[in-house]
Amino acid sequence: MESHRTLTRPLRPAAAAVLDPALVSALAGGAARAARLALAGPAVPEGDVPALAAGLGRSGLHELVEARFGDMGAVAGFALAVLAGTAERAAAGPLVWIASAAAMRAHGRLSARGLAAAGGDPGRLLSVAVARPVDGLWAVEEALRSGAVAAVAAELPEAGFTATRRLSLAVAAAGVPALLLLPHDRAGASAAASRWRVAAAPSAPDPHDRLAPGAARWRVTVVRARAAPWAAGRSCELEVGDATHALRVVDRLADRPAAARAGPAGRGLPALAGGSEEALRRRA
């Protein structure tokens, strides 16, 4: 593993200065248990999946996996939504967005206007194109160690256990969140703090235009979370508030399938929605 030889490098003083001294000594000494505790992040009350989701952009290394082929647009949108909540950090450095060539071909590149619409600042975006997955992992680690970035997101075709372990340590040392955006066939062990499956969910109609889609929604499912073992398998549906770009919950009853929901008036579509839409369209 030639490209991974930085593992044994001692912590940089600049990065160590902001960490708890006990943690630094534990990390430098290789005490895996202390490192795991540090990666767990702030405690979340049991049962509160949305709070867990909102915490994704704060710290730690997390995996966002597309629920099915074709959900990568939703995954990227969700990643930006959880990162947008940390605006005060964005002022101090750019978001580094790493994408493999295959991902760019399949899902396109981030557009500045779309990023601005999602609450990001296109002026604080550093895009990195990589040809090989191993380069992508290396780039994530370099970005974390530079101490100059606010957050790192990487669209990669794969990430093995060893690689995620390395990145977890780098994330802990840097105090910067990192998100790995992985394709739907992601499986296997990982050292990341949590893994989520993200799917697009049908949106409510726009309040000003019944035929138009409203705010984007995602159905996110916790596959596993180190800090919250209770959360495994639970899911919730989230959307972003138009003005604040903050995540909010669509449905408080987390564990029920989306189809069983009866949306409140004016938000979910009644059963006749298709017919009325057609009628509206004909009138137009």
Binding site: A14, V18, G70, G73, A74, A76, G77, L80, A81, A91, A92, G93, P94, M104, R105, H107, G108, R109, L110, S111, A112, R113, G114, L115, A116, A117, A118, P122, G123, R124, L125, L126, S127, V128, A129, V130, A131, D135, W138, A139, E142, S146, G147, A148, V149, A199, A200, A201, P202, S203, D206, D209, L211, A212, P213, A216, R217, E277, E278, R281
Partner: protein
């Protein structure tokens, strides 16, 4: 025809027919001349010769010209330089003739027609005149026609030509122009005089070097040839230290560094790195070179390392921030540039980009990705982003818009279902149309197919909640060619 030494011993040489040559040496082996390979080899040799001088130019098909102004002292004087060149060429198995003089023309004459293999004229104009006088006139780099005329006048030595009054030379050429037109004869006479002036140093003759000389260069001759990566790394470290001192003294940094490794057998290798901002920190530059040094093949040993710096510019030196807690809201640009350098060194110069705004209302033209050069773009200027509340723009733009098959209830209505990447999708909601006209400044130009037609864009959501940006390019009655077509331009969150 060219012949090697063994063949030349049999009397085989240029100008002979292959049949004659075969008759002289029955075991003769022959091959077609490969001019392209010869030229490439000459260029490679020329690059290797930059170890003595940065200005090396090709001369014809078989010569190289070096401008050694200010370089001879590095080898211990002109004579030592020639001895060094000759020894190294011989060591690499290259037959050669060397000439050294104050003008390019004189050096050419020495190298081509002088009696010795290694000849030199010391001194200025008088020495040149005296030194060149006994040499054959063929040393003047003349066209065969001019040389033939000179021989007819009995002018076989350079000295004879030089002593002739200039006007009389032109007159003789014209009078002998029985078979050549008067204009041609005058041109030939001018050429002779020009070459004579160049050889005698009366006219300056510029060289067209293979590469521009670097702005800064540091040399590290290795008495013991370097054979492995560790040696190269150590050498680079020393060179970087010296270069950094020079740059620091001038308050400058460089944006391109090139390490050249010269091997004893006439092969050079060069590794180049670029940085986003001018830098000079030896540790940083050494790290950028890092894995690339492995691309240098030491072969039988590297005996000279040269580090060149280009793109030299004044370097901003800011005091280091007290700590991240006090850094405030401004990004640490120096650390960011260092990160971009490391990424670009491994991933390629175009890999790290930032997005700049561009004045266009077409989303795919409204932004421009450019390599990061130490500056983050400012999108807060008015007009860079559409005002809040305007039509939505997709989060992701496809690198290439892809065609989709669309079924719509009305020809110019929103799509009802569509097929993209062989998957049929049912549209549940659609926002639009948003009409985007072509860029008006292109209206008078020849239309680029669909690019210059108005389009209607829809933000649609399918039954699974995925959102797409579809555009119908062209209008049904715009009178600009084919029927409209549908394409997908981007994806929403």
């Amino acid at each position: 025809m060219a012949a090697d030494r063994a063949a030349a011993a049999l009397g085989i040489g240029p100008g002979m027919s292959l049949a004659d040559a075969r008759a002289r040496g029955p075991g003769l082996r022959s091959a077609e001349i490969d001019r392209a390979a010869d030229a490439a080899a000459l260029v490679a040799l020329g690059r290797w010769m930059t170890r003595w001088s940065p200005v090396v130019a090709l001369d014809g098909r078989d010569g190289l010209a070096l401008d050694i102004t200010g370089c001879a002292h590095l080898s211990g004087g002109e004579a030592a330089l020639m001895a060094d060149v000759s020894a190294r060429l011989a060591g690499a198995g290259i037959a050669h003739r060397l000439g050294l003089a104050a003008s390019l023309g004189a050096a050419w004459a020495l190298a081509h027609v002088a009696p010795g293999r290694i000849t030199r004229i010391e001194g200025g104009a008088e020495a040149l005149e005296a030194g060149l006088a006994p040499l054959p006139a063929a040393g003047l780099r003349l066209a065969p026609e001019a040389l033939r005329l000179l021989h007819r006048f009995g002018l076989t030595r350079i000295g004879q030509v030089a002593r002739l009054p200039r006007a009389s030379l032109a007159r003789r050429f014209r009078s002998a122009g029985g078979e050549t037109a008067a204009g041609d004869a005058a041109a030939l006479a001018d050429q002779v005089l020009l070459r004579l002036d160049q050889a005698l140093g009366r006219l300056v003759e510029p060289l067209a070097p293979l590469g521009l000389p670097p702005e800064h260069a540091e040399r590290l001759p290795c008495p013991e040839p370097l054979l492995d990566l560790a040696g190269i790394e150590a050498g680079l470290g020393r060179l970087l230290g010296r270069l950094a001192e020079r740059l620091a003294a001038a308050g400058q940094g460089a944006r391109r560094f090139r390490l050249r490794a010269y091997r004893a057998d006439g092969v050079t290798a060069a590794v180049e790195i670029r940085t986003a901002r001018p830098v000079r920190d030896p540790a940083h530059v050494a790290r950028l070179f890092g894995e690339r040094l492995a691309a240098i093949d030491p072969g039988h040993g590297i005996d000279l390392l040269v580090l060149e710096a280009e793109g030299v510019a004044a370097m901003e030196t800011a005091p280091a921030p007290l700590g991240r807690g006090f850094a405030g809201a401004a990004p640490d640009m120096a650390a960011l540039a260092a990160l971009a350098d490391r990424l670009a060194a491994r991933l390629g110069p175009e890999a790290v980009t930032v997005t700049w705004p561009r004045a266009s209302h077409l989303p795919e033209h409204a932004e421009r990705a450019a390599p990061f050069t130490g500056e983050l773009p400012d999108w807060s200027a008015p007009g860079a982003l559409p005002p809040p509340g305007s039509a939505p723009r997709p989060l992701r733009l496809l690198i290439r818009p892809e065609p989709v098959e669309v079924v719509a209830e009305l020809p110019d209505g929103p799509p009802a279902r569509f097929v993209w990447r062989r998957v049929a999708r049912r549209v549940v909601r659609a926002r639009g149309p948003e009409r985007l006209g072509p860029e008006w400044w292109r209206l008078g130009l020849a239309p680029r197919d669909f690019e210059d037609r108005a389009r209607d864009c829809y933000a649609v959501e399918d039954s699974e909640g995925r959102r797409y940006w579809l555009c119908r390019e062209g209008l049904y009655d715009d009178g600009r060619g084919a029927l409209p077509r549908w394409r997908i331009l981007g994806l929403f969150t």
